[in-house]
Amino acid sequence: MIVPVVSVIVDIENGSSEAVLHSLAEINNISVFGIKENQIAAVIDGEDMDAVQNTMKTLYATKHVTGAYPVFACGYE
C-alpha cells in the first residue's frame, strides 16, 4: 500500500499568511490550492512516502504554523 498524495489543512497564526505562503513555496513537494482566513489548503505530492512524512515534519516546524492536519490520502499499487 502506498499513499503518494496527501492533502492537508495548514493552520497558521493570525496575519501570517504571507510569511507562511513564502515558506511553503520553498518546499518542493507541496502545492497550495487555497487559503481562507488562517487556513491553507495544500497537497503534498511525495515521490515516496518518506518525502511525504518529511514534509509533514517540515510543516510542523515552520514558523507561524500552529498545526498541519491531513484530510485526505489516497494511493495505488
Binding site: 498524495v5 490550492f33 489548503a41 512516502m49 491531513p70 495505488y76
Partner: protein
C-alpha cells in the same frame, strides 16, 4: 481537461482540503474516479477523540482514507489517521489460531482452539471455583464485545473477575466524575470549545495525543482574540505553543496548585455564591478505610482548609511561581466561559481521583459549568474506553449503565434483565487490572483471556507480570490482530482477531458520542470478529458447565445488531438512556451524544441543565428549575466540592533516585505501537524510544543528545539514547511508551490510586547514568 492519474489524485486531494475549509475548486474531468469502488463511513481506530473517517475500498482492500467532514472533526485527521489503511495489511497480521507447543507456536483449527479454551476454563471452574477464571478486556473492543463478556462473567459465571485496560487510563476520571457529580462521563461536549473563552489544559499534551481536538481549540483562539489558554504541565510540549501561559511545576504537585487556585478564587471573592449555595455540598475524607469514611462539612471548614494553600505555600511545594497561580485563578474565574481538559497526567496517579475532584472544584466554585463553553472535560485515551467499558460496565466493580455490583438493587435489576436467578451476580467487586495479573502470578487465577490489548507491554512494573503470563501452571488465551506482540508471545493460545473495519460494532467516545463502525472488508485469513468468538465461547462454556438452556437464553445473538438492541434496552431508564440510537439511525448519522431517549431525539450536548437541553433532567429531578446534578440523588442532586489535601507521588525522588520519570505519547504513535509501528512511514519518522532530558540536567551529568544513558528505577533499568531539549523541566525525564523492544514499563511503578485502582504510570523515581 485531460489529466493523468497522478494529477487526478492530486486534484481530488486538493478538492477535499479546499472543501474542508469552505473553498470550492472547479472539478476536473473524471474527478472522483480515484479507483475506489465504495466509500464506507466509519471511525478512526486510535484515540478516544472519535474522528469520523471514510475508508475507500477497491477490490476488497482499503486503499484510501478521508476525514468525515459531516462529523465533529470536520474532515480533519491527525497524521496517524491518514495512515490507517496500512495497519490492516501489516506482514505480522495473525491469520490462524496458534497453540504453543514445546515453546513454539503451531497452527491449529478454530475448532481445536475453541474446544481447548472451553475445556481449560470449564475444568478450572469445576475444580477451583468460578473465581479461578478471568477476562481482561479493552477500551478498543467494540461495545457489543465488551457487553457479551461482561454478561458471561458477571451474569453467566457469577464472578466479577473481569476488568479492562481502561483501568490503566480512565479509572481516575470515571471515579472523579462519580464522586463529584454522582455519575460518570463529562456533562459537556466538543461544541463547548466553540463557546469557551478560557481553556485550562492540565496533564495533557493534546497537540500530540489528541491533535484534532487541539485543532478546534487552536481554531477558536485564532478566531477570537479574547480566548486565552492556560497550559499546566511539567513539560513544555507542542501543546504549549499556543498557550498564553504555561504553568510549569514539579511532577505530582498539582493538587497544591489547584487548591491554591481555589484559595485565590475564594479570597478574591471570585466564586459564584449563588451557584455554590444552590448546587454544591462540601465533603472530606475522615478515614481512608477500606471502606473510606466521608463526612459533609460546611463552607467555613472548606475556606479554613484552603488556608494551607496560599499561592506562596503552593509555590514552595510545586515551584510554580505564585504570580502564575494567581493569574490562572483569575483567568479561570473571570472568563465568560472556562473549559478544562485533562488526560493521563492527572489520571495515571496515586492521587488521580483527588486531582480530578480538584479540577471539578474550580468549575463548581466559579459556576463555570453546565452552560455553553463552561465545562470540565476529561479526554479519553482509547476509542471505546467510555462506551464499552465505563458505560457498559466492564470494570470489575461495575454493572452496565451506571450500576454497581456492590448495590443489591442494581444486581437484582441486572439479574432480572439477564433472566438469571436472584443472587447470581456476586456482590463483591472483583480484582482490578493489576490485581488480576497479581492473581495470575500467584496461581489464584488459573485461566485468563486477554482480548484486544497488550498487557505484556502496557502494565506498570511489567516484568513480574510477564513471568506470570508465561507460567506453565496457568492458561493464557490472547485474542490479537498481530502476532507476536509482547503479550501474545507469552500466551498458550493465540486467536486471530478481525481488526477495525473487518467487523462491525459501536464505539462510544469522549463527548458521550456513540458511533457505528461499518464492516468494509473481509478479515485476513481465518481471523474472526471477537464478538463471534465470544458468543460461541459463552454458549459452549455454559453448556460444558451443564447450563445449556441458560446459554441459549443469554447468548442467542445472531449479529452485533442483536447485541446492540439488548444494550439499548439495558440503558433504558438510566441516566445514559440511548433507546433512540437505533442501528439504522447510527448508520445514517455521524454520531449521537447520549442521552438520546427517543428515535427523534437529536442527542444531548449538555447534561444536568434544562436550559441547554438535558432530556432526562425533569425525569430524575422533577422539582429542578434548571441545573440539577441528578446523578447525586443522595446529596439532594447537588455536586460535591471536595477537601482534598496535597499528597505527592507514591515514589518521590530522593538522593539515590533523583529524577522523576514520566511516560507518554508521540504524535506518530499510539499506545504499545502494535498498529502504528507497522506503518513504515510512521516508524521511520519516530523509530525508537529516547530519554528526553532538560539541558541543565544533561550538562551536570555531561550528557549530550544521542549519548547512551541508563535509566534505573527500583524495579528495572533501560538504556536509551538521550534527547537533550528544553521541553521537560529540570529533574524530569520523559520516555515515550510505544516501543515493544524498549519496555519502559519495566521501570514504572504499579502503586495505584486507592479509589480508582489506576496505577501511577506518570511518576516514579529513577537515576540516570551515562554509559
Amino acid at each position: 481537461m485531460d489529466i493523468s492519474r497522478r494529477q487526478l489524485l492530486k486534484y481530488s486531494a486538493a478538492i477535499a482540503a479546499a472543501s474542508a475549509i469552505g473553498l470550492e475548486l472547479p472539478l476536473p474531468k473524471n474527478a472522483g474516479a480515484v479507483h475506489v469502488e465504495k466509500w464506507v463511513k466509519t471511525v478512526c481506530r486510535y484515540c478516544g477523540a472519535g474522528c469520523g473517517v471514510y475508508v475507500g475500498v477497491d477490490k476488497g482492500k482499503v486503499v484510501a482514507v478521508q476525514g468525515d467532514k459531516d462529523n465533529w472533526n470536520k474532515g480533519y485527521l491527525c497524521i496517524k489517521g491518514y495512515y490507517l489503511p496500512p495497519i490492516l495489511y501489516a506482514s505480522d497480521r495473525l491469520k490462524y489460531p496458534m497453540l504453543k507447543k514445546g515453546g513454539k507456536f503451531v497452527r491449529i483449527s478454530w475448532k481445536q482452539a475453541m474446544d481447548l479454551m472451553v475445556e481449560k476454563f470449564a475444568a478450572s471452574i469445576k475444580k477451583n471455583g468460578t473465581h479461578s477464571v478471568a477476562f481482561y478486556g479493552s477500551g478498543q473492543a467494540y461495545t457489543e464485545e465488551s457487553y457479551v463478556m461482561n454478561k458471561l462473567f458477571k451474569g453467566g459465571l457469577g464472578t466479577n473477575n473481569i476488568d479492562g485496560n481502561p483501568r490503566l487510563c480512565m479509572a481516575s476520571a470515571a471515579v472523579g466524575y462519580v464522586s463529584t457529580f454522582g455519575k460518570d462521563e463529562p456533562m459537556g461536549s466538543y461544541d463547548d470549545i466553540q463557546h469557551a473563552e478560557c481553556f485550562f489544559i492540565i496533564g495533557s499534551n493534546m497537540a500530540e495525543a489528541h491533535p484534532v481536538i487541539f485543532r478546534l481549540i487552536n481554531e477558536r483562539k485564532q478566531k477570537d482574540k479574547n480566548v486565552k489558554i492556560i497550559m499546566a504541565d511539567p513539560r513544555k510540549t507542542l501543546s504549549a505553543r499556543i498557550a498564553d501561559m504555561h504553568m510549569n511545576f514539579l511532577p505530582g504537585t498539582d493538587l497544591a496548585i489547584l487548591n491554591a487556585m481555589a484559595h485565590v478564587i475564594v479570597k478574591e471573592n471570585l466564586y459564584n455564591k449563588d451557584f455554590v449555595g444552590k448546587h454544591t455540598v462540601f465533603k472530606k475524607l475522615v478515614d481512608p478505610g477500606p471502606p473510606p469514611k466521608v463526612t459533609k462539612v460546611a463552607w467555613d471548614e472548606y475556606v479554613k482548609f484552603l488556608d494551607d494553600y496560599t499561592p506562596e505555600a503552593a509555590e514552595k511545594i510545586s515551584k510554580c511561581p505564585k504570580e502564575n497561580i494567581i493569574k490562572a485563578a483569575r483567568m479561570f474565574a473571570q472568563s465568560k466561559a472556562t473549559m478544562s481538559f485533562w488526560c493521563m497526567g492527572l489520571n495515571q496517579r496515586t492521587r488521580g481521583v483527588w486531582v480530578n475532584n480538584l479540577v471539578h472544584n474550580l468549575h463548581l466554585l466559579t459556576g463555570q459549568i453546565c452552560r455553553p463553553g463552561a465545562t470540565s472535560f476529561s479526554l479519553t485515551g482509547q476509542p471505546n474506553a467510555c462506551g464499552g467499558v465505563r458505560d457498559g460496565g466492564l470494570l470489575s466493580h461495575l454493572l452496565p449503565y451506571g450500576r454497581l455490583v456492590a448495590v443489591e438493587a442494581h444486581r437484582k435489576e441486572m439479574e432480572k434483565f439477564w433472566g438469571l436467578p436472584e443472587g447470581r451476580i456476586h456482590p463483591k467487586p472483583g480484582p482490578t487490572a493489576v490485581d488480576i495479573f497479581r492473581g495470575f502470578n500467584k496461581g489464584e487465577i488459573k485461566a485468563l483471556w486477554v482480548a484486544c490489548t497488550n498487557p505484556g507491554q502496557s502494565l506498570p512494573n511489567v516484568s513480574p507480570y510477564r513471568k506470570g503470563m508465561e507460567s506453565k501452571d496457568t492458561f493464557l488465551v490472547v485474542s490479537e490482530a498481530y502476532h507476536p506482540s509482547r503479550t501474545s508471545e507469552l500466551a498458550d493460545l493465540v486467536l486471530p482477531a478481525a481488526l477495525w473495519v473487518e467487523k462491525d460494532g459501536t464505539y462510544g467516545q469522549s463527548e458521550r458520542r456513540y458511533q457505528y463502525l461499518e464492516k468494509a472488508v473481509e478479515p485476513q485469513g481465518e481471523a474472526k470478529p471477537d464478538l463471534m468468538v465470544m458468543t460461541e465461547f459463552a454458549n459452549k462454556l455454559l453448556t460444558a458447565l451443564g447450563r445449556e438452556d441458560e446459554a441459549k437464553k443469554m447468548f442467542s445473538f445472531k449479529n452485533s445488531e442483536d447485541v446492540w438492541n439488548e444494550i439499548r434496552e439495558c440503558s433504558k431508564g438510566t441516566v445514559y438512556d440511548f433507546m433512540g440510537m437505533t442501528r439504522a439511525r447510527m448508520k445514517k448519522e455521524h454520531g449521537i451524544l447520549w442521552p438520546a431517549p427517543t428515535e427523534n431525539h437529536p442527542g444531548t450536548l449538555r447534561r444536568y441543565t434544562l436550559k441547554y437541553g438535558d432530556p432526562l433532567l425533569k425525569k430524575f429531578d422533577p422539582q429542578a428549575q434548571d441545573i440539577s446534578f441528578y446523578g447525586a440523588k443522595a446529596d439532594g442532586n447537588k455536586a460535591t466540592i471536595w477537601l482534598r489535601p496535597h499528597k505527592g507521588p507514591a515514589e518521590p525522588v530522593d538522593a539515590e533516585y533523583p529524577f522523576a520519570l514520566t511516560t507518554g505519547r508521540q504524535i506518530e504513535h499510539w499506545h504499545t505501537g502494535t498498529m502504528t509501528l507497522k506503518v513504515a512511514e510512521l516508524k521511520r519518522s519516530a523509530p525508537d524510544a529516547y530519554a528526553e532530558m532538560n539541558p541543565d540536567d544533561a550538562k551536570k551529568l555531561g550528557i549530550k543528545s544521542k549519548d547512551k544513558v541508563k535509566l534505573t528505577s527500583r524495579r528495572g533499568s533501560i538504556v536509551l539514547e538521550a534527547k537533550v531539549v528544553d521541553v521537560p523541566r529540570e529533574g524530569l525525564i520523559f520516555v515515550p511508551m510505544h516501543y515493544p523492544d524498549r519496555l519502559i514499563n519495566a521501570l514504572t511503578t504499579d502503586a495505584y490510586d486507592a479509589l480508582s485502582k489506576q496505577p501511577e504510570f506518570k511518576i516514579c523515581a529513577v537515576k540516570v547514568e551515562k554509559v
